[in-house]
C-alpha cells in the first residue's frame, strides 16, 4: 500500500483516503477479484470446519426431562392397528374406504373429535416449484374416473383437558389409502399409539391434531390443501362433499350412528387454534441394517428453515435418549469424491502441523468429519437454493409454523415382529418426547436460529458465518464493473455526442433480456393449465415457447455502430454487473437463482469466452 502511494503523482496524494483506496482497488481489479474469489472459495470449503455444535437454546423446551410414558402396551396397540389395516387391505383393495374408516374409528375410540378433510386434486393450486418435478397427483389424475379425484384425509383432534384451546401441535402421517404399504401402515400404527397415549395424559396443554394425509394426491398437496382450508372458511356446500357422496353410494362417511356417542357429530371442519409445531412422521424400509435410524428433513419452500431448536430437540432425544442414528440429507457422491478426501487429508495434516507447533491451539480437523460435513452442507445449500421443500413439512412453513419430517427406519426388516416392536417403542417414545417438549413451550419457537445450514445433525453454520464467503464472492462484481467503466471512459476523454448516449443502447438491451426472462419465468403457469400434459411435454413446450419469445424480441435489439463493438461490450458488462449487485436480496440463501439471473450471468460471461 505504502509502496503504491509512493509511486503515485503528488496530486493523487491530495485526494481523500477512501477515494484513494477505491481507485487503488479499481486499478487492480483483476488482482482484487482473484484474491477475493480465492478467499471466498477457501472460506466456503472451510464452512464445515467453522460449524458450531448445536444446543437447545430455549430452556422451556426441557427435552427428555420427563420419563416417557409410552410403553409396550402402546406398542401392542400400534401392532393391532397395523394388523387391522393389513387385514382390511386383503379384504378389499380398490377404493381404500375401509382403511379410511378404520382410522376414523380408531380416532373416535380414543375420544377425539374427527372429521374428514376432502379435497379435489383439481383444487390443488399451481406451484412454480413443482412444475418440472413429476408429482404424484398428476398420475392420480390420469387413472381416475371421477372418484379418485377426491382425496380423503381423516383428521382427529384431542382437546387438551384444562387447556384453553389456543394452540395446537400437529402430527402428520402420509399414507396411500388405495395401495397401502407396510411401512405406511406402521407409521399410522405408531401415530395412533402416540395419539391414544396423548388422549389420556394429564400434562397436555395444547390440542393435538392428527392428520392422516392421503398421499394419492401427493403428500405435500394434501397437507397444503388441509392447511389452506384451516386458515380459510370452509363451507359445507363445497363441491368436494358432493363428489364424495356420489362415489361412495352407501354413504360411508356420514351416518353410522352407533359409533358416535353423541348423535350430533357433524362432519364439518374443526380447528384448534394457532399451530405451534408440526411433525411429519414416516416409516421407511432401510436396506442398510446398521441400527434404527432417523432421517431429519427440515428444508421448506424458498429456503426457509424451521427453528433450529426443533431440529435440536429431535436430535437430542433421538441420540441421547433413544439411541437412534440421526442423519440429515447429504450428497452420497461427495462422500466418495477423491478430491474431497485429498482436501480433508490436507487439512488434517495442516492442523496436525499447527498442533505440533503449539499444542495449546485446539484445532482438530478429522478428514472423515470434513468429508461428511461437506457432503451434508452441500445438500443443505442445494435444497435451500433450489427452494423446493424436502417433504410435506414444507407446507407448514408457509404459515409460519415450524415443522419437520422425521423418517424412521428400523434396523431389521419390517416383517420381523420382535425388531419392529423395539423399533416402535423407540419411535413412539421419541415422538412423545418431541410433542411433550413442544407442549412445554409457552411461547412459539423464536429463541434459536432460522437461517442456518446443517453440516451434521448436531452441527450448524449460522447466517453470520456463511455470509462471509458469500460477501467475498460478491466483492469482485462492483470492483470489476467500476474498472470496466473507468477503462472505457478513459481512452475517449472527449466522446462525440452519439457515443456518449451509447449506454442507453446497452440499457435497452439489458431491458429486453430482462423482459424475455420475465416472459420465460411466467410461462409455466399457462402451460400447466393445458390438460393432460406430462412433465416432459410441458418442459418441451416451455423450451419452444421461450425460444419463440426470444426470436420475436430479437428485432427490437437492433444493431448499433458495429465499429464500437468492444467499447459497447464493456459498457454492457458494467451495466449488467452493477445491476446484479444492486438487486436487494434480504438473505443470500434465499436468493433463488431465477432465470433472469442466469441470463445475466450468461451475458456477462460471453465476452470473456
Amino acid at each position: 500500500m505504502a509502496l503504491e502511494e509512493d509511486q503515485k503523482p503528488p496530486v493523487a496524494r491530495k485526494s481523500r483516503l477512501i477515494v484513494r483506496l477505491g481507485s487503488f482497488l479499481v486499478s487492480h481489479s483483476f488482482l482484487v477479484s482473484v484474491i477475493s474469489c480465492v478467499a471466498g472459495c477457501i472460506a466456503l470449503l472451510m464452512l464445515p470446519v467453522l460449524a458450531k455444535n448445536t444446543y437447545v437454546s430455549e430452556n422451556a423446551l426441557m427435552p427428555g426431562s420427563a420419563n416417557p410414558i409410552f410403553s409396550n402396551y402402546h406398542v401392542l396397540e400400534a401392532n393391532r392397528l397395523v394388523k387391522d389395516i393389513y387385514d382390511k387391505r386383503l379384504l378389499e383393495d380398490t377404493t381404500g374406504v375401509e382403511i379410511v374408516r378404520l382410522i376414523r374409528k380408531h380416532m373416535e375410540d380414543v375420544g377425539a373429535e374427527v372429521y374428514y378433510h376432502t379435497f379435489n386434486s383439481h383444487d390443488i393450486q399451481f406451484h412454480p416449484l413443482h412444475f418440472f418435478s413429476s408429482n404424484l397427483h398428476s398420475a392420480a389424475l390420469q387413472n381416475s374416473s371421477g372418484c379418485n379425484l377426491n382425496c380423503v384425509c381423516p383428521v382427529g383432534i384431542i382437546r387438551a383437558p384444562r387447556g384453553d384451546g389456543k394452540e395446537s401441535i400437529v402430527l402428520v402421517t402420509p399414507y396411500n389409502s388405495e395401495n397401502i404399504k407396510l411401512n405406511e401402515a406402521l407409521s399410522l400404527g405408531l401415530a395412533y399409539s402416540v395419539f391414544s397415549l396423548l388422549s389420556r395424559v394429564e400434562w397436555l396443554a395444547k390440542d393435538i391434531i392428527w392428520l392422516a394425509a392421503d398421499s394419492r394426491c401427493g403428500e405435500y398437496a394434501s397437507v397444503a390443501s388441509w392447511l389452506k382450508d384451516y386458515h380459510n372458511p370452509v363451507f359445507s356446500s363445497d363441491s368436494g362433499k358432493i363428489g364424495l357422496d356420489m362415489c361412495y353410494e352407501n354413504n360411508i362417511f356420514h351416518g353410522e350412528d352407533q359409533t358416535t356417542f353423541d348423535g350430533g357429530d357433524y362432519d364439518d371442519f374443526r380447528r384448534a387454534g394457532t399451530m405451534a409445531a408440526a411433525i411429519v412422521l414416516k416409516v421407511v424400509d432401510n436396506e442398510r441394517n446398521d441400527g434404527d435410524r432417523l432421517d431429519i428433513y427440515a428444508e421448506a419452500s424458498n429456503g426457509q428453515m424451521p427453528n433450529l431448536d426443533l431440529v435440536n430437540i429431535v436430535h437430542y432425544l433421538a441420540v441421547h435418549r433413544h439411541g437412534l442414528h440421526v442423519k440429515v440429507g447429504s450428497f452420497g457422491f461427495l462422500l466418495r469424491s477423491a478430491l474431497l478426501r485429498y482436501l480433508g487429508e490436507m487439512l488434517q495434516r495442516v492442523t496436525r502441523l499447527i498442533q505440533s507447533l503449539n499444542p495449546g491451539w485446539k484445532v482438530g480437523i478429522n478428514s472423515i468429519d470434513f468429508i461428511e460435513g461437506t457432503a451434508t452442507l452441500a445438500s443443505s445449500v442445494y435444497s435451500q437454493a433450489l427452494g423446493v421443500p424436502t417433504g410435506p413439512h414444507g407446507a407448514f412453513r408457509d404459515f409460519q409454523i415450524d415443522a419437520i419430517t422425521m423418517e424412521l427406519s428400523p434396523r431389521t426388516s419390517l416383517t420381523n415382529e420382535n425388531g419392529i416392536s423395539i423399533f416402535l417403542l423407540r419411535g413412539g417414545r421419541l415422538v412423545e418426547g418431541v410433542i411433550r417438549s413442544a407442549n412445554n413451550l409457552l411461547e412459539k419457537f423464536h429463541q434459536s436460529f432460522f437461517l442456518y445450514f446443517l453440516t451434521a445433525p448436531d452441527k450448524f453454520v449460522s447466517v453470520g458465518v456463511y455470509m462471509i464467503p458469500f460477501a467475498l464472492l460478491l466483492t469482485p462484481l462492483p470492483v470489476t464493473a467500476a474498472a470496466l467503466f473507468s477503462r472505457s471512459a478513459a481512452p475517449r476523454a472527449k466522446p462525440s455526442t452519439s457515443e456518449s448516449w451509447n449506454w442507453l443502447h446497452s440499457a435497452k438491451l439489458v431491458f429486453i433480456v430482462h423482459a424475455w426472462a420475465l416472459g420465460v419465468s411466467l410461462l409455466p403457469y399457462p402451460i400447466s393449465k393445458i390438460p393432460r400434459t406430462s412433465p416432459t411435454t410441458s418442459m418441451l413446450a416451455w423450451v419452444t415457447l421461450s425460444l419463440f419469445l426470444l426470436l420475436t424480441l430479437y428485432p427490437f435489439v437492433g444493431n448499433s455502430n458495429p465499429r464500437a463493438g468492444d467499447y459497447r461490450w464493456e459498457i454492457q458488462k458494467s451495466v449488467i454487473i452493477s445491476g446484479r449487485i444492486n438487486r436487494p436480496e434480504p438473505h443470500v440463501n434465499h436468493q433463488f437463482l431465477n432465470c433472469s439471473d442466469w441470463i445475466n450471468a450468461a451475458c456477462s460471461n460471453v465476452p470473456y469466452c
Binding site: G111, P161, H231, N232
Partner: protein
C-alpha cells in the same frame, strides 16, 4: 358475652350454639339471633350428572341471602361481611365473577340445558357488574371494584382497571344496560389460591356439609372447572350471593386401562367417594337446605324408560348406590311429565357412621346424547403473517333442535354476537362480510341491529354488538372481519410476548331460545330449592367461543443493545461527515489547486 362482641359474627354464632347445648341461659340474645337466622339464609346443594362422554358433572350451588336492611347495623350472622361491604361501598346492583380453567365442551357436555349454560364460562377470569351510581361515576367505581376483588380473590383482576381492558356493552351482552361494565382476562391461571377465599365466604367453609367434598387435587385434575360468584342486590330482596362451582371429572378407571369411547364398552361406574376421595358425612348445620341431586338426562332417561323397569334407579341398565329420598320428573312445555329425571338425597340424614356415598353402577353399555344448542359456534383466525388477518365467526346449524321443527318455513332466527377485541388488533368493521351457506350476502339484509365502538389506541378496546336475523333453514353462516396487527411500545409487551396475544371469547346469544326447566313438585310440601328455582328462570341460550391467539410482531428484546450501538455508529459517521462538509471551503481549495496546477505547468 353479648356485650363483649367478637369481630366475626359467624364465630360468635358458633360459640353461642355451643353455649346453647351447655346451658339454657342468655335467652334474650338468642332470640334476636334466631330472628336473624330466620332472615339470613344459606342453602347448599350439589347436582351430579353423568355425561355422555363418560365423564361426570358435579355442580355445587351455595346461596346466601341477607335481608335488605341489616337489622343489626353492619353485622351479619351467616352472610359474608366482605361481600356485604363490597355491595354497600360500590353500590353494586348485579355482579358476576367467574374463574375458569378448561373449556366447556358444548357438543358433549350439553349446549342447551339450564345447568350447563349459565355455568359454561370462558377460560380465565370474566367479570361484569352493574352499579347503582350516577353514570359519570361508574368508571371510577369499576376501577375500585376491580382492585377490591383482586385483593379478595388473590387474582389479577386489577388488570381490568385500565380503560383498554374493559368495555361497556349496551345490549349485546345483557339486555339494555347502560351502566354495565364487562372485562375478561383469558390468560389468568386459576388455582387453589382463588378457591380458598371463595370458600371463606361459605359459613361452614369446607369443614362441613357438601363443601367438604371439595378436595383440591381432584378439582384441579378435572377437565373443566369453573368457580363462579354472582351477586344480586336490591332494596326489595336485599343481597343474594350465589356461589357455584362446576367441575367435569373423569371417573378413574383401573390403571392403564384406556377410556374407550366405542359403542360396546361400559360406562365407568363411579361414586362420590371415587370422584372426590371423600364421602358426605353430614350437612352444614347453618344451611337451611342441604341436598344432593342426581340427574339423568332426557335421552338417557328415555332410554331407561324404554326398558320398562320397576324403578328407574335400580334396573337392568344402571343402579344408584344410595336409595333416593325423592324423585322428580321434568315437566315439558305443556306441563306434562317429560322424561328427564332428578333424584334427591337429603344430606342431613347422613352422619359419620352412615356416610352418603352417592354414585352409579352401570350394568349395560348405553349411549345417549346431550341437548344441543341451535347452532354450533366456532371462531378462528384466518390468514398468516405478521401484518394482517381476519377473524371469522362461523355458525353451524345443528338442525336438531325442536324449535326448528315447530316453526314454519319462512321464519327467521335471531343471533346476537358480542365481541371485544383489544386495541392492538385493529379491526376494520367496514370489511365485514357475511356468508350464508357459502354465498356472500349484503350486510343490511342480515343484520338487524349493530353497535360498534371502534378501538382507540391504548385507550379503549373495540367492541362489536351485532344482531343477525338468519333464515331458519340455513346450514351455516360465517362472519368475517379483517384486521391489522398493531405495534406496541416495548414497555407494553407482557412477559412471554412471543406467545402471542389473546382475543377474549366472544359471546353468542340466541334470544329466541329459552332455557327453563320445571319439575313436578308437590305444592303442598312447600318444597324449596334454590337450585331448582334457578332452573325455572328463563334464560336465553348462549355460547362462548374460543379464545384466539394472535401472534403479533415482537421485537427481539435483546435488540435495543444492537440498535443503540448501530445508531451510535451512524450518528458518529453522520456528524463526522457533516462537520467535514461544513468546515471545508470548496472554492478556496479549487483555487488553490488551480494555482498549483498553473505553477507546475
Amino acid at each position: 358475652m353479648a356485650t363483649n362482641r367478637p369481630r366475626c359474627p359467624t364465630a360468635a354464632f358458633l360459640l353461642l350454639l355451643l353455649l346453647l347445648y351447655s346451658e339454657n341461659a342468655l335467652h334474650p340474645t338468642l332470640a334476636s339471633i334466631e330472628e336473624g337466622e330466620r332472615r339470613e339464609e344459606f342453602t347448599e346443594e350439589l347436582l351430579l350428572k353423568p355425561l355422555p362422554d363418560r365423564k361426570v358433572l358435579a355442580h355445587f350451588h351455595f346461596q346466601s341471602s341477607a335481608p335488605p336492611s341489616a337489622a343489626n347495623g353492619r353485622h351479619h350472622y351467616i352472610f359474608p361481611k366482605a361481600i356485604a361491604q363490597l355491595v354497600r361501598k360500590f353500590q353494586i346492583r348485579e355482579l358476576e365473577l367467574s374463574f375458569t380453567q378448561g373449556r366447556w365442551n358444548y357438543e358433549r357436555w350439553g349446549g342447551f340445558d339450564p345447568v350447563s349454560i349459565p355455568n359454561a364460562k370462558p377460560t380465565g377470569v370474566e367479570l361484569w357488574a352493574t352499579f347503582d351510581v350516577p353514570l359519570n361515576e361508574i368508571d371510577y367505581t369499576w376501577k375500585n371494584l376491580t382492585h377490591a376483588l383482586s385483593g379478595l380473590f388473590c387474582s389479577s383482576i386489577n388488570f381490568l382497571e385500565s380503560s383498554a381492558a374493559y368495555s361497556t356493552p349496551s345490549w349485546g351482552f345483557h339486555s339494555n344496560y347502560s351502566n354495565l361494565r364487562y372485562g375478561a382476562l383469558p390468560r389468568e391461571a386459576v388455582c387453589t389460591e382463588n378457591l380458598t377465599p371463595w370458600l371463606k365466604l361459605l359459613p361452614c367453609r369446607d369443614k362441613a356439609g357438601i363443601a367438604s367434598l371439595l378436595d383440591r387435587p381432584s378439582i384441579y385434575k378435572s377437565h373443566y372447572h369453573s368457580q363462579r360468584l354472582k351477586l344480586i342486590s336490591s332494596k326489595l330482596v336485599g343481597i343474594i350471593l350465589e356461589q357455584t362451582l362446576s367441575v367435569v371429572l373423569q371417573p378413574s378407571l383401573r390403571r392403564n386401562s384406556p377410556v374407550s369411547f366405542n359403542a360396546g364398552s361400559l360406562q365407568p361406574s363411579w361414586s362420590v367417594n371415587s370422584l372426590f376421595g371423600k364421602k358426605v358425612t353430614g350437612h352444614c348445620v347453618l344451611a337451611k337446605v342441604s341436598r344432593i341431586y342426581f340427574e339423568l338426562e332426557k335421552k338417557l332417561a328415555s332410554k331407561v324408560d324404554e326398558l320398562n323397569p320397576l324403578n328407574s334407579w335400580n334396573n337392568s341398565v344402571l343402579e344408584l348406590l344410595e336409595v333416593p329420598s325423592r324423585e322428580f320428573r321434568e315437566l315439558d312445555a305443556s306441563n306434562n311429565p317429560g322424561s328427564s329425571l332428578l333424584y334427591e338425597f337429603e344430606v342431613s340424614i347422613s352422619n359419620e357412621s352412615a356416610p352418603l356415598n352417592i354414585g352409579i353402577h352401570w350394568k349395560l353399555p348405553l349411549i345417549w346424547s346431550c341437548p344441543h344448542a341451535p347452532f354450533r359456534v366456532s371462531r378462528y383466525l384466518m390468514g398468516s403473517g405478521n401484518e394482517r388477518g381476519s377473524i371469522a365467526i362461523s355458525l353451524q346449524s345443528t338442525q336438531l333442535h325442536e324449535w326448528f321443527l315447530t316453526t314454519s318455513d319462512g321464519c327467521a332466527v335471531h343471533v346476537v354476537i358480542f365481541q371485544v377485541v383489544p386495541w392492538y388488533v385493529k379491526v376494520y368493521y367496514h370489511t365485514m362480510h357475511i356468508f350464508i351457506d357459502g354465498k356472500a350476502h349484503i350486510i343490511s339484509d342480515v343484520v338487524r341491529k349493530i353497535q360498534i365502538s371502534p378501538s382507540e389506541d391504548k385507550l379503549s378496546p373495540g367492541s362489536m354488538e351485532l344482531m343477525l336475523s338468519l333464515p331458519c333453514n340455513i346450514h351455516s353462516a360465517t362472519i368475517i372481519v379483517d384486521f391489522d396487527k398493531g405495534f406496541l411500545h416495548i414497555d407494553e409487551y407482557p412477559p412471554d410476548a412471543n406467545q402471542g396475544f389473546d382475543i377474549p371469547s366472544a359471546l353468542v346469544t340466541f334470544p329466541d331460545f329459552y332455557l327453563s326447566r320445571k319439575y313436578q313438585l308437590d305444592d303442598s310440601m312447600q318444597y324449596k330449592s334454590t337450585l331448582l328455582s334457578k332452573f325455572q328462570e328463563s334464560n336465553s341460550a348462549k355460547r362462548y367461543t374460543e379464545v384466539l391467539l394472535v401472534p403479533l410482531t415482537t421485537p427481539d428484546f435483546s435488540m435495543p443493545y444492537n440498535v443503540i450501538t448501530f445508531t451510535c455508529t451512524v450518528l458518529a459517521l453522520y456528524f463526522g461527515s457533516m462537520l467535514n462538509v461544513l468546515r471545508r471551503r470548496v472554492g478556496q481549495e479549487e483555487r488553490l489547486s488551480k494555482s498549483k496546477g498553473t505553477s507546475i505547468f
